[in-house]
Symmetry: D5
Subunit: 96 residues, 10 copies
């Protein structure tokens, strides 16, 4: 089941630099792990912003929440979710 997830990251300027760097490093590792597992299916940067559009392929809404809420940068993210489904004009069966 696919969900579009848009994440906007806002780290306040008074968070210590080393803490911010550590969180970003951990975020990247977690993101790559989830991409390799096929759950975080797409990940694109928004030009000119500290933001991304992601497509997640999960078994349930619960699974999506468990993943997002444990992302290292979650406390500094504004997240918006759009549930997706197959478009009747889509030519891709596997694109759901």
């Amino acid at each position: 089941m696919l969900f579009q997830v848009q994440m906007e990251v806002r780290i306040p300027h008074d968070v210590p630099v080393d803490r911010a760097e550590r969180l970003k490093r951990e975020e990247r590792e977690r993101a790559q792990e989830l991409q390799k597992s096929g759950i975080w299916r797409h990940l694109w940067r928004h030009v000119g912003r500290y933001a991304n559009t992601s497509i997640f392929d999960v078994g349930s809404a619960q699974e999506l929440h468990d993943i997002l809420s444990t992302l290292p940068l979650f406390p500094f993210m504004e997240i918006s979710i759009t549930a997706l489904c197959r478009h009747p004009s889509s030519v891709h069966d596997g694109d759901q």
Copy 2:
């Protein structure tokens, strides 16, 4: 080059039914043609809305405009565009 395109369709209720049906049929044909050519890379329906998220892979912003502005339902769409680029944490080279 990838662009995220969100389309919201609003056909006023006083557009004649046959005109609306014809436009939708033509829209579907054009959408499938563009998907098969690889330009309209992804097309997902938003659950519960007459709306979609699409990913276009085009050579230029001009090409994207020429495609979108000639879609049969263009006069009844509210479109928002987000320019995308490769995310530094992406594991997919081809995902740009």
Copy 3:
């Protein structure tokens, strides 16, 4: 899987009265059928508005879209969707 669905109905004043009445009657029948099947789990009216908050229990996002997009009043609804999951402080197992 639970989704919160908020529906706002806006029927333009120049829709013929008998068409509007027919659509409302069909909407009610469909809503009751879906409630009895357990899919449309809750349905509450917003005080002072032609709007409601609903909780749907569906097997997938696709199923939810198929239901919502075929509601008789769908063309006159503004719908917003929130994917729900179990709250860690919830005392109800069945409340997911």
Copy 4:
């Protein structure tokens, strides 16, 4: 009498961790106590957000305010309230 209550929690990053943890623990205890009493009838997490949708069953608007304004995390919540009533298409008598 039912009210839909949507709570969004935003704890500033410079609130000491132990104070935040204590408030969350107290919030959870209070939430479970109110659920068991039947007042906090439903509690669902919004996927991907530190937010919830709740349904309260109270004797008056005053009672609702007294409950919400004494929640441990109240100073860090953005709350929006929607008064609910029985939907004419509801099949549940007890759903009001």
Copy 5:
């Protein structure tokens, strides 16, 4: 129980004048009847707008909805509701 109700009236210009006039006349009669009964406790016009702030004193949210949704101009109103309760600094007991 008190609710603040803000009503904004928007009658499309192509509603026939006599229908609009009849609805306004019926709205006024209903409003005065409800004021005399003590339910529609206050009614103030917003300066420069076809809008008002009203305070209703009702036994339940259901009663409020039944009143508002049967107002003659209801189909042309945008209504927003705020549940009120006694302010701790209020000096009026009867003001709840």
Copy 6:
């Protein structure tokens, strides 16, 4: 002359507790004094929010500003003002 005043109070969490408590105590005293004088005609709490709807009866807009801008919590309030006048359907002469 009546004005509707909506006040939303937001005290940052790093304002010292004793300063906040002192300001709230002074605010309450001032609010009660103004209510007794008949100027602050109504004061209702919004359910679930640190906010209120108030009705002021003043001789001029200048008088209203002088009162509001010297409230002890003024620096932490977001205030919105609506000028009111007599509604043509009102049954109360004194309600203006």
Copy 7:
């Protein structure tokens, strides 16, 4: 007493041209009459918009409403009102 009034005019395209022209002519006459009387103290066009900023000098909020709500174009205006008072740094006594 001064009020800032911002008016945005939106005449639907299907209002007959002669009716629109008549309303505009009557609006202009009324506006000039009120300016000459000193009530409509300032009237400026917003560049590039069918909108204006006006300053009214009235004896009461009621008087302002009676004037605005009888302007010939009132049914096609979106009006927003800001109550003004003397600025403590103003050097003009008469500017209130």
Copy 8:
């Protein structure tokens, strides 16, 4: 003096096609005339929208309004204006 002008065109679907076509043709002629004169300095289409960003170089705000308000499509445009001036980091003297 430079102004950034953003124009969004919305022609209702029930405007007769020949009227719309005539207005667009006249708009194009006027736009080209103003570009050639140097007043309409830049004109860019927004990708995927019936909208543009324009830069006007005019002698006064009055001149800008006289130009914009007589554009053939003005009644169907939503226009927003930003007054511009020389940026302290600009390397172009003539770019003002």
Copy 9:
């Protein structure tokens, strides 16, 4: 050339009181100087807000920016600008 300037002042509570007082004093002196010169033509306080509506009469947009961006409180202001011009119904020649 006239511009409407709306200024909203928000001084964070942790700016030292003496710095804030000094800035306000300097702001007042500068505002009075500019009013006396005829550039800052009108200055009105918004009732109940730390905000004002001002009318500036300047030779160019550049001059306006140079004035506003050097106001002592500029770093704490949210400013919105509306370019004004003569209204066709204005009776004042000098009002432009």
Copy 10:
């Protein structure tokens, strides 16, 4: 390929003055370098705001992101992007 970039700069008041000054100096140097190279084609200040409208001419969306995200003031900017293309009424071939 042209993109319109609007930048709003918000430096919190508790960023040390020398750090802010250094960042602004570096920003200016980088902006001038990019202007001289022809990439940052236009740069205009918004009157009365710490904001600008810029036009970038880049080979790809990726190039634009790489430039914007390494601007010294990027962490304190709110950036919005509009992809541009040739307007059919434009008289400038090179203006795309």
